[in-house]
Amino acid sequence: MTAETAAEEPDGEEDAATGLFAAPPEAELERMVEALLFAASEPMSLAEIARRLPDGAEPEAALASLVKRYEGRGVRLERIGKAWAFRTAPDLGFLMREEVTEERKLSRAAMETLAVIAYHQPVTRAEIEEIRGVSVSKGTLDLLLDLGWVRLGRRRESPGRPATFITTTAFLDHFELESVKDLPGLKELRSAGLLEADPPGAEPEAAPKPAPLLERDEGEEPKDDATTEEGGAQKDG
């Protein structure tokens, strides 16, 4: 700082020699240019600055002095083409980014789709729809793909060669699973209380599938006597 202040002194003298009688002293001029550029909504050209200053004042020296003064500071005086403006120091650009992490809950549809993929992989979209009983929107699958929890598996060797979906390592990481084989079977889910309510007459011996991956039709039977409230009535646990 002290060095800078010293460096400005000669400029002041120079100006005093060339400036008009009305022109403010160099230090004052510098303050003026500083204020003008600070308040300006756009970079100001030399001519614009001069026009706003008291008659006869020439801003060049003040600009040069300001450039020095702001050197190494959090903001710098920059020349942009023929105009001048204060700008944040480039190394501090990161401060101008406000990172907001918003937590969002996966939608029920996405969670269900993910669950079906996890349990039945590799599984085609048609199969997911069959299991969930509703169509799967492209957005839901896209989101799961974007999240990196799901990726495309081999195409199914069946008519139309549909794409299959499988889960990824990121999926295992996120849900802290060693392997998809660790996913509990239906019976375990039930005993863990994760089934909201036992369906009436549910068969207690329903296969304790340790790896239900490929067995899509566990020995459950649709109960004809059940009053179905298509999923919508089921609360989130």
Binding site: A39, T101, E103, R104, R108, Y119, L183, D224
Partner: protein
Amino acid sequence: MSANEEFIEGPPRDAGDEGMTAEEEALLTVSLDGFEGPIDLLLEMARRQKVDLRRISVLALAEQYLAFVAEAKRLRIDLAADYLVMAAWLAYLKSRLLLPEPPSADEPSGAELADRLAHRLARLEAMRKAAAALDRRALLGEARFPRGAPEAAQRLAETRWRADLAELLRSYARIRTRDAYRPLMVDKRESVMALEDARARLGQLLGGMSVPSWTRLEAFLPAEWLEAPIKRRSAVASSFAAALELARRGELELRQEATFAPLLLRPRAAGEGPGNDAPEGHEGEQGDRA
């Protein structure tokens, strides 16, 4: 600090007037639009006394105001109700100030009432001056300026999707539970034996029997319907219904040893009465014999 002076005394007024002068006349004739209300008018009159507002002569002020109202009446100027209310109050105040104090100590004295009025005027005057003083400050946008080109912070909204294992499992459980609740109709085509098919099949089989003998209903079921419980159940139900229908038509006979015992059926020989030769006494009333 001179602010004290300024706030309490107010700047000196230049109108040198006494009593009802030309100025007051002008004040009258000039429309009252310039005043915000009786207090505003009173304040203006009080200011003309050129003293500390709390030391004004309230009596003189009251008289001045009343004179003003009288003059307005004379000139047939319609005064708003609040001006008249103030006039009535000031007339009361004036009487309280002039007459000896009543013995009752409950009511404020005339002097106290006058004090209150003076205080009220001083308070309003103070706020007027405060407003002016505020306006004389180095206002933003007039004397002080903010950064003209603010660099808005870029909001990088990073979405973190929340999903835990319990939810995942619950979701799966939910789907499977929903499955269990799903009505039969979804699978109808595959796992339901149509009634007509059952009837046709039963009729065919019974007609083909060389020696009519009691046979369990299950024996008439097609083998491919026996494996899956769902299909088996449907086949049993349909065949049973078909058997009832055929029995009603008199084409076969039904018999059951006991409740929940196997249902037996045989083709009906011509001439035999329905159910005549049921061998045992316990006859399950399975059939509709009408």
